[in-house]
């Protein structure tokens, strides 16, 4: 697969630039030219066996999509000895500013705390190469960033040679200081101007060999950790943009409903603190001195609403639509088989920081601040909406309070721009939690049908038909695929299908294997949630794997081991089985489960222990869901090369918490055209009382010189292992997720007014 990286002119030699500037600026192209073997031969109209994911996976596809871009990324050395870099990606908690700083520290031999990584504004010249998705960041930036940093180091060495009067080859670099053999030394800061150039030129440089790494591959703490624990880390709503006052929108009681008429705009405009009120495309916008006064104003508005895009729909009606859209598997074959259908209800990808954005739109220009994973498309669409030329719109990418797929979209940025233009004033727009949950994007409801046939010890066929409410992938990602689809061996089957095919790998030797996606109903606000199709599709597959193992009288671990294709896969599976003492005796109603998943050039396995005893399931939790408790998780992951094992562990920890919630507790309930959930005590994401008391994450030794994807891949095996464990503990394989969906565990809040009143009893406990 695109094997060479950066502008490679030798195994470790790469091309970059020094850029004309007052202090040293080294740059490299954010591209990865393909090697001769990189372009697969298209096969029209069909998905060929063997596995197309072996030919090209999603990571390759996104990386290949970056080829025509010409944008440079720059490492700058300053006179205070610091090094700065503006990363054209979004930091949403996944730790990429830290791993990026590590790459620079490694190649330059500068201390990590002297590297400052910020987030770049939207840079349209980067075309497709400013999207943070599919766990692609480290993979696609690994070599270019190192190349730029290595060039900076090279130039500093040359400047030091002049200053110290010694050949560059005689000099050593340690911790941002260059020394000669006699012990004379000069720090980077003193060389920043001397190493600069007034003529941009191309330079070639050799990158460090992996065996010489002292930063990459070592566990490091987050570079923004101190800011996070002191409250100094600034998120969008923490920014002090002059006159950008608190703004909220009164939204419809049903999904995407719009305003028919508003009865009392003038009255609401006169409420304390309120400065502006107006009907906008998504509801009625209010701007006030404080968000508290926005809440009051939103609650006071009397609006009549037009129907939305999912009017009258419910879980049951969508399930009927999905069943009707399922691609047929044909009559049951005359051989032994397992045939199951799994249902996955809508889930919310709300982050803790709700949708929010600041917009300052003037007659001739606009400035936007928001946590954006696809800022170029956001900028383009905002410019169109405002009727401004692209060059008059500035889009700043801010640190996000989580993403989980949410920030691939720019709903709040677009809405804030519209409102600011309408009011003629800067606005700081926040979605209420209730809005975020009810009108925000969701992971689409879907069903997965699996039929596997077997004879003796052989699995003859494995066929999966995944049928889903349409996933909106129209965040610029689509363009990449459109541009590339023709070159892929998937013909014209469309973007979602392509994405599905590329992200789903069949890791088992299961004879003829096919999997198809069919989508229906575009009436919902959807988006990919962390790990997109994989958690549901993998959960269904792994449960069927357990069934097959049972039919063949094999142990679930041994069965997987026997059928997995490659050694890296077997290694992670063996690791969790060994460390987690697979097969140990467990009390009744408790059990272990094991699952495997491969994606983004990475492999992972999870071993889970679950407690489904009645006294555990029925334990008392105020305004929460108890249910079965996952008591232990052992997780092994091999991402090829782990740049920051400590950060990777953190990502897997989050993935595990997601997986537990997806199987056991978290879903949205659709009733009469709206979702019932409006609070974190309605939508049951994993809480402390659901957290596994025992957790062990094992980062496997490196198996590659290239980092694979990491941010998402742990969700699928975690969800699947919890489901398998639940099935083994209760003796009944779960087929509907989350398992508690049929019980509504809360009292739904009203939809009119759309946001609940803030309580007033908060002080009681304090005195």
């Amino acid at each position: 697969m695109p094997g060479s990286d950066g502008a490679a002119i030798g195994r470790r030699r790469f091309l970059g630039f020094v850029i004309a500037a007052p202090t040293l600026v080294a740059a490299a192209e954010l591209t990865r030219p393909e090697s001769a073997a990189a372009t697969p031969t298209p096969v029209a109209g069909q998905v060929p066996s063997p596995e197309i994911t072996k030919i090209v996976d999603l990571t390759d596809m996104m990386t290949a999509a970056t080829l025509p871009t010409a944008g440079l990324i720059r490492v700058e050395v300053h006179e205070d000895g610091t090094v700065s870099f503006a990363l054209p990606r979004a930091e949403v908690g996944q730790g990429i500013t830290t791993s990026t700083a590590m790459l620079i520290a490694e190649e330059m031999d500068v201390p990590l705390d002297r590297v400052r990584v910020t987030l770049a504004d939207a840079r349209p010249e980067l075309v497709f190469n400013q999207i943070t998705g599919a766990s692609n960041t480290t993979h696609s930036t690994y070599t270019p960033i190192r190349t730029a940093a290595a060039i900076a180091r090279l130039r500093l060495l040359e400047a030091a040679a002049t200053v110290l009067g010694s050949a560059a080859s005689e000099l050593t670099v340690r911790a941002g200081v260059i020394a000669d053999r006699a012990g004379n030394s000069v720090p980077f800061g003193d060389l920043a101007a001397k190493a600069a150039t007034d003529r941009t030129e191309q330079v070639s440089v050799e990158l460090k060999e992996a065996k010489d790494f002292s930063v990459i591959g070592t566990p490091r703490n987050r570079i923004d950790a101190v800011a996070a624990v002191t409250g100094r880390k600034k998120f969008t709503m923490d920014l002090d943009v002059p006159d950008a006052k608190s703004t909220m929108v009164c939204r419809a009681p049903t999904i995407n409903g719009t305003v028919e008429s508003a009865a009392n705009l003038a009255e609401v405009r006169g409420m304390p603190g309120v400065t502006d009120v107006a009907v906008v495309s998504t509801g009625v916008a209010v701007r006030a001195e404080t968000f508290g006064q926005c809440v009051d104003a939103v609650r006071a508005l009397r609006v009549s609403w037009k129907p939305g895009t999912a009017e009258g729909k419910s879980d049951e009606s969508v399930l009927d639509e999905l069943r009707a859209a399922e691609l047929p598997l044909g009559p049951r074959p005359p051989v032994a088989n397992v045939d199951e259908r799994f249902t996955f209800y809508f889930r919310s990808n709300s982050a803790l920081e709700p949708n929010c954005a600041i917009a300052d739109v003037r007659a001739d220009r606009a400035e936007i601040w928001s946590g954006l994973k696809s800022p170029i498309v956001a900028k383009q669409e905002i410019a169109v909406k405002l009727g401004l030329p692209l060059t008059r719109v500035t889009v700043h990418v801010t640190d996000s309070g989580g993403s989980f797929g949410r920030r691939l979209f720019y709903d709040a940025a677009l809405e804030a721009a519209e409102i600011s233009q309408q009011f003629g004033k800067p606005v700081k727009l926040m979605w209420h939690r209730a809005d975020d949950s009810r009108q925000g994007r969701t992971h689409p409801m879907c069903i997965s049908r699996v039929r596997a046939t077997y004879a003796g010890n052989t699995v003859l066929t494995y066929r999966q038909r995944h049928t889903s409410v349409a996933t909106d992938l129209g965040h610029g990602f689509g363009e990449i695929v459109t541009a590339l689809a023709a070159r892929l061996p998937v013909g014209d089957i469309g973007f979602s299908e392509t994405f599905f095919q590329l992200s789903q790998e069949m890791s088992y030797k299961f004879g003829a294997s096919t999997r198809w996606l069919n989508e229906t109903d575009k009436g919902f606000n959807t988006g990919s949630m962390r790990n997109v199709y994989s958690p549901d599709a993998t959960c269904a597959r792994e449960l069927v794997v357990d069934q097959l193992a049972g039919k063949m009288n094999k142990d679930p671990y041994q069965f997987r081991r026997e059928f997995l294709r490659d050694d890296r896969a077997k290694a992670v599976l063996d690791k969790v089985a060994e460390v987690g003492s697979w097969g140990r005796q467990m009390p009744a109603n408790t059990a272990q489960g094991i699952a495997f998943h491969a994606e983004y050039k990475s492999v992972s396995a999870a071993l889970v222990e679950i407690d489904c005893r009645p006294e555990t399931v029925n334990r008392e939790i105020r305004d929460g869901v108890a249910g079965p408790r996952v008591t232990k998780v052992v997780f092994a992951v091999d991402v090829g090369l782990a740049v920051n094992p400590r950060g990777l562990e953190a990502q897997m920890m989050g993935c595990i918490c997601d997986g537990i919630a997806l199987t056991l507790t978290s879903s949205l309930h659709l009733r009469d055209g709206h979702f019932l959930e409006a609070s974190w005590d309605n939508y049951f994401y994993t809480r402390q009382w659901n957290t596994p008391p025992e957790l062990q994450i094992i980062v496997m030794p490196n198996t590659s010189e290239q980092p694979g994807g990491a941010g998402e891949l742990g969700v699928a095996p975690s969800m699947a292992a919890v489901a398998c464990a639940y099935g083994r503990a209760t003796g009944t394989m779960p087929t509907s997720f989350p398992i508690n969906h049929d019980t509504l565990s809360f009292e739904p809040k009203p939809t009119i007014p759309p946001v609940p009143e803030s309580p007033t009893d908060g002080i009681r406990r304090a005195r």
């Binding site: 002191t230 603190g273 939690r433 920890m653 908060g762």
Partner: protein
């Protein structure tokens, strides 16, 4: 408009705002103290957790009118100063465990943790797993296991 006087992070403040505006918005929108975060506005997510006279409270549920001039509000920004250090021991424990991912919930988590340890200590007992299970603060990034580790080690230093 009514004036309200109270103390925040060691300083006397006076704000001019309607009685029923919740403290969270007085802190964030009027005083520019942005450590306490909004995650729900209905005393559920606990992202805004701060201390009032040393106890954990949720300012999204406190009308500013409830505050007396002697009331001391401590937000994450003022936590370290309560022990006269650059960082509170709980913040140091947080750094050691590298807890934060996106960081959005973390001010609230730390303030809740400090109050929990104080409460347990006041009752003269040790922190239990049940105490940790009882923490309601949401972390949508799923840092819960590291939070538990950090609280256990932070408690020893408090």
């Amino acid at each position: 408009m009514p004036k309200h006087t109270f103390r925040v992070n060691g300083e006397q403040v006076t704000v001019d705002v309607a009685d029923d505006v919740r403290l969270l918005w007085v802190l964030r929108d009027l005083l520019g103290i942005t450590g306490p975060k909004y995650g729900c506005g209905i005393n559920v997510c606990k992202a805004c957790t701060s201390h009032l006279n040393g106890n954990a409270v949720n300012p999204c549920a406190i009308p500013v009118n409830d505050l007396e001039p002697t009331d001391e509000v401590t937000t994450i920004e003022g936590l370290a100063a309560t022990v006269d250090q650059d960082l509170h021991p709980m913040q140091r424990a947080w750094l050691e465990q590298d807890v934060a991912q996106c960081g959005y919930c973390q001010p609230g988590q730390i303030m809740a943790a400090v109050a929990l340890v104080r409460e347990v200590t006041a009752h003269g007992r040790e922190l239990t797993e049940a105490d940790l299970d009882g923490i309601r603060n949401i972390c949508r990034c799923g840092t819960y296991p590291r939070i538990r580790e950090a609280i256990k080690s932070g408690a020893k230093e408090m």
